[in-house]
């Protein structure tokens, strides 16, 4: 059974954390089509979290066509219509990133510096896309 976790210091709203965890798990294959997500009540009692938060996350996942809720049965992961990326693209991106990370560490950056650099470049790329 899929298990959610919450990071209360990330600044990311809890419902969005749940959404992102399912998205990632689907992308990485930890969640497969037909898998059942935990019931809202199960997530609530596990994390001591507001049920509306879980319901909101599940609604958003349904809107994104990642999952389907079946009344009385639960929420199930859908067959993905168009995979976000092919396995080979995923592998190649991952290798490229690993190479880059090794270079960054070799150049003396630590994890925090890497995170800051990634955030800064991401920000720049985003503003270039908008412009």
């Amino acid at each position: 059974m899929f298990v959610f976790r919450l990071d209360t210091h990330s600044g990311v709203p809890p419902y969005l954390q749940l959404v992102q965890q399912v998205r990632q798990a689907v992308l990485l294959g930890f969640l497969q089509p037909g898998d059942r997500l935990p019931l809202i009540r199960e997530v609530v009692e596990d994390l001591a979290i507001n049920p509306n938060t879980v319901a909101k996350a599940y609604r958003q996942l349904e809107q994104e066509n990642l999952v389907t809720g079946r009344p009385g049965q639960g929420t199930f992961v859908d067959e993905q219509q168009s995979p976000a990326m092919s396995a080979s693209t995923y592998t190649s991106l991952r290798r490229g990133l690993a190479t880059w990370l090794r270079r960054a560490y070799a150049a003396g950056l630590d994890e925090q510096a890497v995170d800051a650099l990634v955030a800064s470049v991401r920000q720049q790329t985003r503003s270039e896309d908008v412009a």
Partner: protein
């Protein structure tokens, strides 16, 4: 769900004790069907507001409407829809848990004893123990089970987890959130701890020195606010109404802004703000001596 869709509406509510105003100009519209946190430092007026809501106090000014009914015109029927758990979960120490349940059943129009027994059994709390011999966490569980056995539409809790250790706190919230999921009860609770609020509530009311300084749906509040970090600015940013707080270091300025605020200038980074930081910024702001110029903290 009530006819109005509001669990609680207050209009211009104030409460004056002999030593002065504990609460002033309190106007709130809080929706039913969610979890509402009332946050503020000790002495902010939280307990006063909660006691006004459940009818244990009468307001000096304004009106309090709970589940669509003016609290001033409460009847046993309207009161039976509201549960109240006072600070420190008071129980009769020499009563056994079973006696507490019998007492609860005889004092309430509606009381689901079976539900309470099931909840307590799930937590392994024996019915034949005297309340005074239970641990703090278990006493809190008994008090919560009693309050929920009323099957209230609105449950009001005054600092329910303040006296509990982290594990007991988590267990208490598990049961409380479970009740929201299963029974659809609307929860209004006060807390002077802002940590971990985000995971349990939908709606927030920040109270300081007897006044409401921030209220709203939490996702909306978080979406409306952001932190802007950039080069130190001598600009008159602080005076802009959109700036909640400005903190300056030698080279950087960090601004907490509310939407409609400043356009992102080059060199500035926008970041989401965590709920805890948002609440603290508003509390710091309202504790500043002059409310006319919401200027920042110069470092």
């Amino acid at each position: 769900m009530t006819a109005t869709g509001f669990a609680l509406r207050t209009d211009g509510v104030g409460k004056r004790y002999r030593k002065g105003w504990a609460l002033r100009d309190c106007t709130l519209d809080l929706p039913a069907g969610g979890v509402i946190a009332l946050v503020g430092p000790n002495g902010a007026g939280k307990t006063t507001l909660l006691r006004l809501v459940v009818g244990l106090l009468a307001p000096s000014t304004g009106t309090v409407e709970v589940l669509g009914h003016d609290v001033a015109d409460s009847t046993p029927q309207t009161l039976s829809r509201v549960g109240f758990l006072a600070q420190d979960h008071p129980l009769y120490r020499r009563f056994t848990v079973a006696e507490m349940l019998r007492f609860g059943r005889s004092c309430n129009l509606r009381f689901d004893q079976e539900l309470a027994e099931r909840r307590l059994a799930k937590r392994g709390i024996p019915l034949d123990r005297r309340a005074g011999t239970l641990s703090g966490g278990q006493q809190a569980q008994v008090a919560l089970a009693l309050a929920l056995a009323k099957r209230p539409d609105l449950l009001v809790l005054d600092e329910p987890v303040a006296s509990l250790d982290p594990l007991a706190r988590h267990e208490f919230m598990q049961v409380l959130m479970g009740a929201v999921a299963e029974d659809g009860v609307t929860v209004l609770f006060s807390s002077h701890v802002v940590h971990e609020l985000e995971r349990v509530c939908d709606h927030l009311v920040v109270l300081d020195q007897g006044r409401v300084t921030l209220t709203g749906d939490i996702d909306t509040l978080l979406a409306e606010h952001r932190l802007l970090v950039g080069p130190r600015t001598t600009h008159d940013l602080d005076r802009s109404a959109a700036v909640v707080e400005a903190v300056h270091s030698d080279r950087h300025t960090t601004l907490l802004v509310r939407d409609g605020g400043l356009p992102a200038a080059p060199g500035w980074q926008a970041r989401p703000v965590a709920l805890e930081d948002l609440v603290l910024a508003y509390l710091r702001r309202s504790s500043e001596p002059s409310a006319t110029v919401p200027s920042g903290v110069a470092a």
